[in-house]
């Protein structure tokens, strides 16, 4: 059994690399239960929408919904951020880190629940303004 498991692990590592393997494990980690309604309120209060739009459609910041990234990646992105500061980059830009001082773990789960609840947009073919020449 251990040998079979080892073979599976080796195959996965060869196929997707160590990073991909770890990501695949993380993706299996279920997101904590959250309240989508409160998540929307926190999303707006924290002004996440200023970069990502009120329904996570993206803007100056990346698209968050529908189908947000797995929760561990989402949490890491929010908590650590990814800022290009003037010291390391000429452009001061990127995702700022939100510590628990601003968004608690429970609120983060609520935001994630909100993003997960956002439905797929209609197909472009079904939107007359996007299907005409």
């Amino acid at each position: 059994m251990n040998r079979i498991l080892l073979v599976i692990v080796v195959v996965i590592l060869m196929g997707s690399g160590i990073g991909g393997f770890i990501a695949s494990l993380r993706a299996q980690v279920p997101a904590p239960a959250g309240n989508a309604e409160n998540g929307k309120a926190v999303f707006l209060k924290a002004k996440c929408f200023s970069c990502h739009g009120t329904v996570g459609q993206g803007g100056p910041g990346g698209r968050l919904a529908p189908k947000p990234v797995a929760f561990p990646a989402f949490r890491t992105f929010v908590r650590q951020g990814k800022v290009n500061s003037p010291a390391t980059n000429r452009n001061w830009a990127g995702m700022p880190p939100f510590s628990t001082k601003f968004i608690s773990d429970a609120e983060l789960a609520d935001i994630y629940a909100y993003l997960t609840s956002i439905p797929e947009p209609p197909a472009t073919a079904s939107i007359p303004l996007l299907s005409q020449p």
Binding site: S50, G59, G81, S99, P121, P122, T124, L129, L130, Q132
Partner: protein
């Protein structure tokens, strides 16, 4: 051929002789105590304002002569906030010139005057006249001038000043005068002059126009003396001849070398920023791109290349030869090209005229083949040299290359539509939805989009005419879009084009008096607000810094950058200035009908504003 200042000198002599020393003291005391009450607008008036005299039989008013010069240059409009020290020009334009060519437009801020002239020039391809007070008006105008300078737009300015200190007889005139007024904007103008006589002024006026219209285009300024321009001049004073300058072209040797590199390249790429000074510039680039089957990245400081052309786009990372045409900031492109051993060619007038103080020259770009010359003027020669080198074998390779680029562009267009669908029904309205609601109702019209902040139109609209897009502000500050839109709409008016603007709210509030100008002069323009209720870029910056520093509170991060509490009612603001308006509208399903109503008003020849509350971007 000598201008006459005798009549005004006589007036001043008689005034001084009768008033005497006691009168002089009294006059100054009056001026000091009553000065604020006599001030009007930015420019104000003064106790020492000259009084014109009737011209003798062999004379004419100097400012009438000035109007003849303006007419000889084909100037259609004069844009100005009034000021006493060029009042003679206003009077002559209206009563001598018949208020046609130029027609006088009343502006409410000198920055607006210049920004309007920028919008006008970007559509019409030539300058309007801007008049401003050389001291207090020019300081307002400076930001507009900087926009024109960075954007390489011809703006033609006359600045009123009291040159002779002996003629500054009261405190207001003293603080409203300068010895060298243009020093304030010399770092951002191509040329200026401070002539004494009207003969000198006429030479300066024609020279200033020619310099403004010689690529690289740019703003020029000539000082007009308050006293001289209301004096009389010899009736025989002659208007100097003017001929439009030919644009400088790149050297033939360098162009041939560029052609060799482009034809031999596996993956040539063309980057343009503002090469299309005229409609011909678009057609020329289409011809070059199709001959080479090369992709084109249009950075759209102007409308340079059709948005739906199969070659619109390209992969910079794969390019082995890059041709930049008046592309502006190419430092990063050139550096990346060097890193992948690609050759970088530039055709630009940028180094023909450059000043050192402001950073519009950008970081030094390491270009392998810099060709100094106007790109549009050089393109015919380059196309000819490229065609000479293209063999049947190369043409086959080119066609395969072009087919791949076209396929990639089709995919990019579909991707853009899918991205536009995200947040399609969001409230407030997504900028993609706003753009497409607008496009839906103008696409079958002869339309012109005169703002450049929202980029969805560039991704999704079918643009192929030079007036369909005019870029953003050169200086990338706010306060440009509203007056520039109005100036562009003014230029479009005689062509019967439907002019539309997607107007950012922060920019709108810098100079919203321009709306009154649009209403007063019946300039047809549909303004759809992009009202995100913030100086949004600044909000993002402030929020980012607070979060990185891990201090403050969510509620305090918007201090200083949001435009809320109260929300501004843009429709009421517009209505107060005589512009029909509606809103605020935040439900996307209500926007289409509002745009339809607005277009009906605009087609009647009037401006209309829709306050659309939008997503941040």
């Amino acid at each position: 051929m000598q201008d006459s200042k005798t009549s005004i000198d006589r007036r001043r002599f008689l005034k001084g002789a009768t008033a005497g020393a006691a009168g002089f003291v009294a006059q100054n005391a009056f001026a000091e105590t009553q000065a604020p009450a006599t001030q009007g607008g930015t420019a104000g008036s003064s106790e020492s304002a000259p009084t014109p005299t009737s011209p003798a039989a062999n004379e004419r008013p100097a400012s009438d002569f000035m109007v003849d010069v303006f007419k000889s240059l084909g100037i259609e409009y004069a844009m100005a906030m009034p000021a006493g020290n060029f009042a003679g020009i206003i009077e002559s334009v209206v009563h001598y010139g018949g208020n046609r060519n130029p027609e006088w437009l009343t502006c409410m801020n000198e920055e607006s005057s210049v920004e309007m002239a920028i919008g006008y020039a970007k559509i019409e391809g030539k300058p309007a006249l801007v008049c401003a007070h050389a001291t207090v008006g020019l300081q307002h105008a400076a930001m507009g001038i900087y926009d024109a300078w960075c954007d390489r737009v011809p703006v033609y300015m006359m600045l009123g000043n009291t040159q002779d200190s002996a003629e500054r007889n009261d405190p207001i005139t003293w603080v409203h005068s300068a010895n060298d007024p243009c020093s304030l904007v010399r770092d951002m103008t191509k040329w200026d002059d401070n002539p004494i006589s009207m003969v000198g002024w006429a030479d300066a006026a024609v020279r200033a126009y020619r310099i403004a219209m010689t690529p690289p285009y740019g703003p020029t300024a000539v000082v007009v003396d308050e006293h001289r321009h209301v004096s009389n001049v010899a009736a025989t004073l002659r208007v100097p001849n003017f001929a439009m300058p030919a644009a400088p072209q790149g050297s033939i040797e360098a162009v041939r070398e560029a052609a060799k590199l482009l034809v031999a390249a596996q993956n040539p790429l063309i980057i343009t920023g503002a090469h299309a000074r005229t409609p011909a510039g678009i057609a020329l680039l289409v011809e070059l791109a199709e001959t080479l089957q090369a992709g084109v990245i249009d950075r759209k400081r102007r409308m340079n290349f059709p948005t739906r052309h199969p070659l619109n786009g390209g992969q910079a990372a794969q390019a082995d030869v890059v041709l930049a045409l008046e592309a502006g900031y190419v430092t990063g492109d050139a550096r990346a090209a060097r890193q992948r051993n690609a050759k970088f060619i530039s055709i630009s007038t940028n180094e023909l005229f450059i000043k050192s103080n402001y950073g519009d020259q950008y970081r030094f770009a390491e270009i392998d083949l810099p060709i100094t010359g106007d790109a549009e003027a050089t393109l015919p020669t380059l196309i000819e040299e490229v065609k000479k080198l293209v063999t049947a074998d190369r043409r086959r390779v080119f066609q395969e290359r072009g087919a791949k680029i076209a396929e990639a562009n089709r995919a990019a267009y579909e991707r853009a539509k899918q991205e536009a669908a995200l947040g399609w029904d969001a409230n407030p309205i997504s900028t993609a939805r706003l753009s497409m609601e607008l496009w839906n109702q103008i696409r079958n019209e002869d339309w012109s989009l005169v703002t450049g902040w929202v980029n969805w139109p560039l991704r999704l609209w079918n643009m192929d005419k030079h007036y369909q897009y005019i870029g953003r502000s050169g200086g990338e500050a706010i306060g440009y879009h509203l007056p520039a839109s109005i100036g562009a709409a003014l230029a479009n008016r005689k062509h019967g084009r439907l002019t539309v603007a997607i107007q950012p709210d922060g920019d709108f509030m810098v100079a919203n008096g321009a709306l009154w100008t649009a209403a007063h002069h019946r300039i047809p323009l549909l303004i759809v607000m992009q009202n995100n209720r913030a100086y949004h870029q600044d909000f993002m910056d402030a929020q980012r810094i607070a979060l990185v520093r891990n201090r403050g509170a969510l509620e305090t991060m918007a201090i200083g950058t949001e435009i809320t509490n109260p929300n501004i009612d843009y429709a009421k603001l517009a209505q107060s200035m005589g512009v029909a308006a509606e809103g605020p509208i935040s439900n996307p399903n209500d926007l289409g009908a509002a745009i339809r109503r607005g277009i009906q008003v605009v087609k009647r020849g009037e401006p209309y504003l829709i306050d659309a509350v939008t997503q941040p971007r």
